[in-house]
């Protein structure tokens, strides 16, 4: 923890007004430190710039060729001078290195008690997964609590960049990467993908929501972990968030370089690239999500869809997507939204009655049944939210 020790020392540096001119919002202590380091470097730069360009301008004015002016003798080398203007910059860059090193070690050393959020970057979405199994395309974080992002990528290199926190770290496929922050000012801050990742790189943005309080954060989390009761609704959400949208339209239009539209896809008989015929049913869609290259519809051979293993799309989510595809078919005859909501309300009532009103369970055990096992295991490690009890 040498890094944070040194880091706290550099907190005493005076605030330099320049930082405000260069940067936008800052919502973490790290950001403030970065701004200070930036300010110091900028002042050093300005000093050198004024020195160099000022001398240049003075020389241009004073020694410009004009009638009657000739060059004056002066020495063509001076070792003392050379050494002086080598040594002074060395000392200054050593200082700059040291300041940068301090801040960096702090950025790379998350506190032991930090709250882990999984980040799954894929073309062209970030999905944030919380310890209770909930996931969202927006990064929800509690205020004043260290949050560690555990990052992975499903396809190519992405980079999670939050300008207001002044942090950035690539999400590299085939490994984990980490970054952390403690946001102290509630609000919404932009979040970008900073590493070029293909077609929709510039649309791979999102935002961070720093909640007003821990309670508000827990509430949002509980809300997030409730899957929409009506499959097609949920499926549409997944279609947007998981990146299906970029290649599969829902209105029958063709997307260049993408795959078949989902409109009226259900029950359709597709001719595969190898000539065989397949009816679009549950198994086929499941296979197309898990192993997209196994069966390719004729005409889409060049399209290289990423495989989505269970870590990216859970079985329940696959069902929701299938429900959505069914809904997009003219022949849809599943339950309507009203019916589904009524059924869910009925089920919940029944559940409440048998549950006996356990207060802890209400906060965390909202997810669908197939996720329950996972979330109950993973919440063990979760520090109990202090306000959880008061909510009841």
């Amino acid at each position: 923890m040498i890094g944070s020790q040194l880091f706290s020392d550099s907190m005493h540096l005076p605030t330099l007004p320049l930082a405000g001119f260069w940067f936008g919002d800052s919502a973490t202590a790290t950001a403030e430190n970065v701004d200070k380091v930036f300010g110091i470097i900028t002042w050093i730069c300005i000093a050198f710039f004024v020195l160099v360009v000022g001398m240049m301008i003075v020389f241009i004015v004073k020694y410009r060729a004009r009638p009657g002016h000739v060059e004056q003798p002066s020495p063509s080398h001076n070792n003392a001078l050379e050494i002086i203007w080598s040594v002074i910059p060395i000392l200054l860059v050593a200082l700059i290195f040291f300041l940068g090193f301090n801040g960096f070690m702090d950025m790379r050393t998350p506190p032991a008690d930090s709250y882990d959020i999984q980040v799954i970057a894929s073309k062209w979405n970030f999905t944030f997964q919380y310890p209770n199994g909930a996931s969202s395309p927006v990064l929800h974080v509690p205020p004043d609590r260290p949050v560690r992002l555990v990052q992975q990528s499903a396809d190519v290199i992405h980079s999670l960049f939050i300008p207001a926190f002044r942090i950035k770290q690539d999400c590299v496929p085939g490994r984990y990467t980490y970054q952390w922050f403690t946001a102290h000012t509630p609000g919404e801050y932009d979040l970008f993908c900073a590493e070029y990742c293909g077609l929709d790189h510039s649309n791979m943005n999102s935002y961070v929501k720093v909640h007003e309080s821990e309670a508000a954060f827990q509430e949002a989390l509980a809300e997030l972990s409730k899957p929409p009761v009506w499959g097609p609704d949920w499926g549409e959400k997944l279609w947007r968030e998981k990146g299906c949208k970029t290649c599969h339209s829902n209105d029958g239009s063709a997307i260049v370089g993408g795959g078949p539209t989902w409109k009226d896809l259900w029950d359709k008989e597709e001719t595969m690239a190898d000539g065989s015929k397949v009816t679009v049913d549950h198994d086929y869609i499941l296979e197309s999500i898990r192993k997209p290259q196994a069966k390719i519809v004729g005409g889409y051979q060049g399209v290289n869809m990423t495989a989505y293993p269970e870590s990216l799309v859970k079985p329940a989510e696959v069902d929701a997507i299938i429900a959505y595809i069914q809904y997009l078919s003219d022949a849809y005859d599943g339950p309507t939204k009203e019916e589904a909501e009524a059924a869910a309300a009925a089920a919940e009532e029944g559940g409440e009655a048998t549950d006996g009103g356990g207060s802890e369970a209400a906060a965390d055990d909202q997810p669908a049944a197939d996720e329950a096992s996972e979330s109950s295991e993973s919440t063990d490690e979760e520090p109990a939210a202090p306000e959880a009890g008061e909510e009841e």
Partner: protein
């Protein structure tokens, strides 16, 4: 510079056939072994690349006028910025000064008849042409959208044919670059004339020598990198692609081991140009010759130790990042030494503000900004915030364009009379210099602000996606700054066109150039303008290349002529530097 009798009788041999008219016909150019003609052919090729890359740059800027992107869809935009980067880096900047002007002037400055391996020199040019053809075919296939860095796994996942085409092009261009560097190093090592010790070489040669070292040691690593990348894309050898158990960070190490030193392939010759031009136009001996010469070599060698600073947030380990950050700052020192020495050279001089000098001063201004903002990026904590934003874009444009391109133009104006025997129009030249300077700053300074505010690079639009708009304040700042930048780019474009027009017009309407219009003391000014086929009738004698007291303005020649050798010079100026 001590004049010889042969030089004193200058002006008498003006009618001798020069390298341009000694023979004619397509074959006399296509199969020439004359380093000067090869240099001219390179110059033409490089100019075409610059035009192409420049058009792409303007398209990028125009597109970003509107937050949603005004002209292209995202795919086209990605291809355009990729081609802009790839063409500018591989086809333009890397060969710019060394392959064209270096080829032309290196042997002449050495008093030699040619480079050591003229055939290899010609081969180098044709390899460049073949490499360029590969690039153009990648462009025609369309779909090269990887960025010039070809980062895996994106580059092995996107459409294969253009990537393979482009990497083949890079591979071949690499050999072209190696051949040029090899030729220069051998020529400087073995063909210096009697009297030209290492420390009496013009500084331009020092910088080309240092560049040659980098080309030799770094380029082969790029060669193997793109070869493995091509194999990865076609056969999936699993070295760089994580889908096949490869490691994408390994690719970045391979790539930057070449591509960082390549930055010095781009900037060192430009520094050499400045070291050459500044004393001539200031009429002063260069200050601190040895420090400038050795700092070139120091930059070349230190340049190999810092590649990891391109990877601070790419998930290389923290230890490596810290080591590379520390080493990165070491490069600042020799660069700083050069800047101070150039300033000291101006002290008490007699500054002629010719077009060449205007561009050199412009270089000093822009390179200072480019170099100093490097400190923000070398410092770890701030780099994390600024990495992959427009701050980086602005920084490297200040160094590569404000440095290399500006110095290249300065050198063209300086040596144009020697290369083609025609004087250009000084007024238009100065206008172009002013427009380029203003346009450049207007284009790229706002990008520093864009970057620090958080605008990521390589974005086709900056309004955010459906349901996730970029916050209102940011959007307003981004839009305003992008528009200033685009306006500046247009001015810059006009300035560059005027510069090109001035030079081309000189070929047709310029008055005949004397041997030594600027009063330079290096050997190229002692031979005829344009030079004869073999450069010199006899190997010239050599002295200090930065003593101007022995030259005198002759209004009849409209150029400088040497004084008789007996003329006394002040003792402190005669003092040999070597």
């Amino acid at each position: 510079m001590i004049a010889t009798p042969a030089q004193i009788e200058q002006g008498t041999s003006h009618d001798e056939k020069n390298y341009l008219n000694v023979s004619s016909g397509f074959a006399s150019w296509a199969f020439t072994l004359d380093h000067k003609r090869i240099g001219i052919m390179y110059l033409v090729g490089i100019a075409v690349s610059l035009l192409l890359g420049g058009i792409f740059a303007l398209l990028v800027r125009l597109h970003l006028w509107y937050p949603a992107g005004g002209m292209f869809d995202a795919k086209t935009y990605n291809e355009i910025f990729t081609l802009h980067g790839a063409i500018m880096v591989f086809l333009f900047i890397i060969p710019s000064v060394p392959a064209s002007l270096g080829n032309f002037f290196l042997p002449i400055m050495l008093g030699a008849k040619d480079v050591a391996f003229p055939r290899m020199n010609l081969a180098s040019f044709y390899l460049w042409v073949i490499g360029a053809i590969f690039f153009v075919s990648a462009m025609l296939i369309s779909g090269l959208d990887t960025g010039w860095t070809f980062y895996t796994p994106y580059s092995v996942e996107t459409s294969t044919a253009p990537v393979v085409c482009a990497t083949m092009g890079v591979f071949i261009l690499g050999f072209s670059s190696i051949f040029t560097g090899l030729n220069f190093v051998v020529t400087v090592n073995t063909m210096r004339p009697p009297g030209m010790t290492w420390f009496r070489m013009p500084l331009f040669l020092w910088s080309l020598y240092a560049t040659g070292i980098i080309q030799l040691l770094a380029t082969p690593v790029l060669g193997i990198t793109v070869l493995l990348l091509g194999l990865e894309a076609t056969l999936h050898i699993g070295i760089f692609d994580p889908k096949y158990n490869g490691d994408p960070v390994l690719f970045q190490h391979f790539f930057w081991f070449y591509s960082h030193p390549a930055v010095y392939i781009m900037i060192l010759p430009a520094m050499g140009v400045v070291s050459e031009l500044l004393p001539v136009y200031c009429r002063k001996h260069i200050f601190g010759y040895k420090f400038i010469a050795l700092s070139s070599v120091a930059i070349a060698l230190l340049g190999f130790l810092v590649w990891g600073h391109h990877m601070f947030v790419s998930s290389q380990s923290a230890l490596t990042a810290v080591i590379f950050s520390g080493l990165t700052f070491s490069v600042a020192i020799p660069s700083g030494i050069k800047v101070f020495n150039w300033l000291a050279t101006m002290y008490k001089g007699n500054l002629y503000l010719t077009t060449g000098m205007c561009y050199v001063l412009s270089f000093l201004f822009l390179f200072t900004i480019g170099g100093l903002t490097g400190l923000h990026l070398g410092s770890l904590a701030t780099d994390v915030a600024l990495h992959d934003t427009y701050f980086v874009v602005a920084h490297f444009h200040y160094v590569m364009m404000g440095g290399s391109l500006i110095a290249f133009i300065a050198a063209l104006f300086h040596w144009w009379p020697k290369m083609f025997g025609k004087m250009y129009n000084e007024t238009w030249g100065r206008i172009s210099a002013l427009l380029v300077f203003v346009g450049f700053n207007l284009t790229f300074f706002p990008q520093f602000l864009l970057g620090s505010l958080g605008m990521p690079r390589r974005y086709a639009s900056y309004e955010g996606r459906e349901g996730f708009p970029v916050s209102e304040t940011m959007l307003q700042q981004f839009t305003a700054l992008h528009r200033v930048s685009t306006t500046g780019a247009m001015i810059l474009g006009v300035g560059l066109f005027i510069a090109a027009g001035t030079l081309i017009a000189a070929l047709y309407y310029g008055r005949r150039a004397p041997r030594n219009p600027w009063g330079g003391a290096t050997l190229e000014w002692t031979c005829q303008s344009p030079p004869i086929h073999h450069n010199f009738h006899e190997t010239p004698t050599v002295g200090d290349p930065y003593i101007y007291a022995n030259l005198e303005w002759d209004p009849d020649l409209e150029g400088y002529k040497p004084l008789p050798p007996a003329s006394p010079t002040p003792a402190h100026e005669q003092e040999p530097v070597g």
